[in-house]
Amino acid sequence: MSLLEIKNLHANIGDKVILRGINLTVNAGEIHAIMGPNGSGKSTLCQVLGGRDGFEVTEGSVQFDGMNLLEMATEDRANAGLLLGFQHPVEIPGVKNIYLLKESLNAQRKARGLGELDTFAFMKQVRELVKSMQMDDAFLHRGVNAGFSGGEKKRNEILQMLLLQPKLALLDETDSGLDIDALKIVSEGINRLRGTDRGIVLVTHYQRLLSYVEPDFVHILYKGQIIKSGDKSLALQLEAEGYEDILKAAS
């Protein structure tokens, strides 16, 4: 059974049709990259999979780990093992990071019928992660993303991912706004999640991230459809030739 199976997915925002029949299958152990120019529907796809209000699915289905994803509430999707890494993580002043991490980890454990992790073990795990992301412990006591730089926000997303160990990570433009050092740290984090029992979908505009996280498959999204799929060489081709030529060739 595949981890994620998107069949003929159509979605609108208001009257505007954004997704026009997406088909995509992700199996455990695979890394997929979805690339496309601005306005191709990349972020919409992420938001629809994340369960955001304001999008209307008009056709198609999405199976996640054997469940009908589209019928699940956002928090249930998260607790079932889907993690959405945001392009623009929102700032939530006053709510400490440490508190968010604890709440979400315990929510997931509860969903799996496990008890709450004891504070000592939790803190140990979190501290190690903070260190591995080259962040300062003080970050844990700051408000969620409040006053963070773009790079700090993205590192925070990856840190949450590593703590929650999702079955499928769906990372929306995680590389945007990162300098080269931060990009390396983030990539290392993503590579650490890689494993035979997990899937990762990278949604990105550029090939840059893919030099550090090697994808098994690359898809090109254009006008709400995947118009071309291939292996990592497709990303390199894209980088060399630009979208225009490939779009021309595909149409």
Partner: protein, 488 residues
């Protein structure tokens, strides 16, 4: 998904302190005139100076009119329909017989002890919260004060107001009305005429009060006004942290609570006054609830003195209160931290006044309001820098959070400066709980209800941080309960 619906469902939980204690009470007949004032004074066996003080206040009150500037609406109060004194019979008789004698716990009616247990305020010292001394005020009288011997060892006086009138008349004479004069405003004048009981705290020179002091106010009787009076004096270099809590039964009638709190801080003294106000707010249709018309003012009289007001206002049908600081001493500091949450038909008009008179005086105001249901929630504050307040500083932050689209959130700051070296900064925002924030937290597996609670708590964090530990926990729980049904 209907977030709105879930939010609304969350706000409507029942008031859990709404029970009535069935106890034999002595209540004087409704009505207000000079004889009633004399009767109250006589019941407390008061010295002549205090009776005269009350009568003067009463006569002044007759010439005044209720304030109309607040953003609240209620039918005129019939002051002749209220009773101005109610006391459990046992306590009342005792007070009459011997107001001078401190009450020991053995003499307290077991029914009262039971009630306070039920409210989570155990009065037996062995069961009491460690490190918190409690004065329990039931309707018009103080029932008991705990830990008094332990406090007396270091010279701290903590007793009911009536008792202090007898045991320390010179202190009462010196400080009563010195911060809030009897004619200060309509409700303060009324209180000065008919106040029944309250707490008195005196921290002598150089003493750091060894434990938190706390007064627990409980309204029980029907159609009775509660008019308590609290006076806290911290002498040179003294420190005290004082907590105040309040509840009332659930009744369809509105009840009036018009208290006065006066704080005096001499040189280098610090007073921290924290309130968790949870008077009965009325039902979901706006019926019943307490009218909470309170005058609280601190006089930072001494140089380098400091007064901090922290309040969590969750209850009452109408709240009208502006805990204030007169920063008279040079280098004195005033702080006001407030969370005011309103739901259903509650009306809040609350804030503070910072009057900078001394040089290098500093004040900080952090006000967080959360309005849900059909409530109206207004911040009203005054920052006044007098001519002589060289290098005074004020920083004010007022944030309002809206939950639902049938309520109001208002900000009315008055800022006045007469000194060119002063610096004043005021910021205010009004927003709703953002869908983006809720979605982010939900995408991390957190339910909408928890997500909203997290956001609201985060919103209030700066204020909760100022509360003593035990109160901070209580405040968070209270916030969740108050908003239940309004948040998803």
């Amino acid at each position: 998904m209907s977030e709105q619906h879930e939010i609304e469902a969350l706000v409507s939980r029942d008031y859990q302190y709404g029970f009535v204690t069935d106890i034999e009470q002595e209540i004087i007949p409704p009505g207000l005139n000079e004889d009633v004032v004399r009767l109250i004074s006589a019941k407390k066996n008061e010295p002549e100076f205090l009776l005269q003080w009350r009568l003067d206040a009463y006569r002044h009150w007759l010439t005044m009119t209720p304030p109309t500037w607040a953003h609240v609406h209620y039918p005129p109060i019939d002051y002749q329909a209220l009773s101005y004194y109610a006391a459990p019979k046992s306590a009342s008789e005792q007070a009459e017989i011997d107001a001078n004698r401190p009450k020991s716990l053995d003499e307290v009616d077991p029914k009262l002890l039971e009630m306070y247990e039920k409210l989570g305020i155990p009065l037996h010292e062995r069961a009491a919260l460690a490190g918190v001394a409690v004065d329990a005020v039931f309707d018009s009288v103080s029932v008991t004060t705990t830990f008094r011997e332990k406090l007396a060892e270091v010279g701290v006086i903590f007793c009911s107001f009536s008792e202090a009138v007898h045991s320390h008349p010179e202190l009462i004479k010196q400080y009563l009305g010195s911060v809030v004069p009897p004619g200060d405003n309509y409700y303060a004048a009324l209180n000065s005429a008919v106040f029944s009981d309250g707490s008195f705290v005196f921290i002598p020179k150089g003493v750091r009060c060894p434990m938190e002091l706390s007064t627990y106010f409980r309204i029980n009787a029907l159609n009775t006004g509660q008019f308590e009076r609290t006076l806290i004096v911290a002498e040179e270099g003294a420190h005290v942290s004082y907590l105040e809590g309040c509840t009332a039964p659930q009744r369809d009638e509105n009840q009036l609570h018009a208290a006065v709190v006066e704080l005096v801080a001499l040189d280098d003294a610090t007073i921290k006054y924290s309130t968790v106000q949870n008077w009965y707010p009325g039902d979901e249709f706006g019926k019943g609830g307490i009218y909470n018309f309170v005058t609280k003012r601190g006089d930072a009289r001494g140089n380098r003195s400091k007064i901090t007001w922290t309040q969590v206002e969750a209850g009452s049908a109408i709240t009208w209160k502006y805990p204030s600081c007169i920063l008279r001493g040079d280098d004195s500091v005033g702080e006001f931290y407030s969370v005011a949450v309103s739901n259903n038909y509650q009306q809040v008009d609350s804030g503070t006044k910072m009057i900078h008179l001394g040089k290098r005086t500093r004040s900080t105001i952090v006000s967080k309001s959360i309005s849900a249901g059909r409530s109206q929630n207004a911040y009203r504050g005054l920052v006044h820098i007098a001519k002589g307040a060289d290098d005074a500083r004020n920083y004010t932050q007022c944030d309002a959070l809206l939950i639902g689209d049938r309520n109001g959130a208002h900000t009315f700051p008055y800022i006045e400066s007469k000194n060119s070296s002063a610096q004043i900064e005021h910021e205010a925002t009004t927003t709703k709980v953002s869908d983006d924030q809720i979605f982010y937290l939900k995408s991390r597996g957190i339910t909408e209800e928890n997500a909203t609670n997290m956001i609201v708590n985060g919103f209030c964090k700066e204020v909760f941080n100022e509360l003593p530990m035990e109160f901070a926990v209580e405040a968070q729980a209270l916030l969740a309960v108050s908003l239940e049904g309004s948040v998803g």
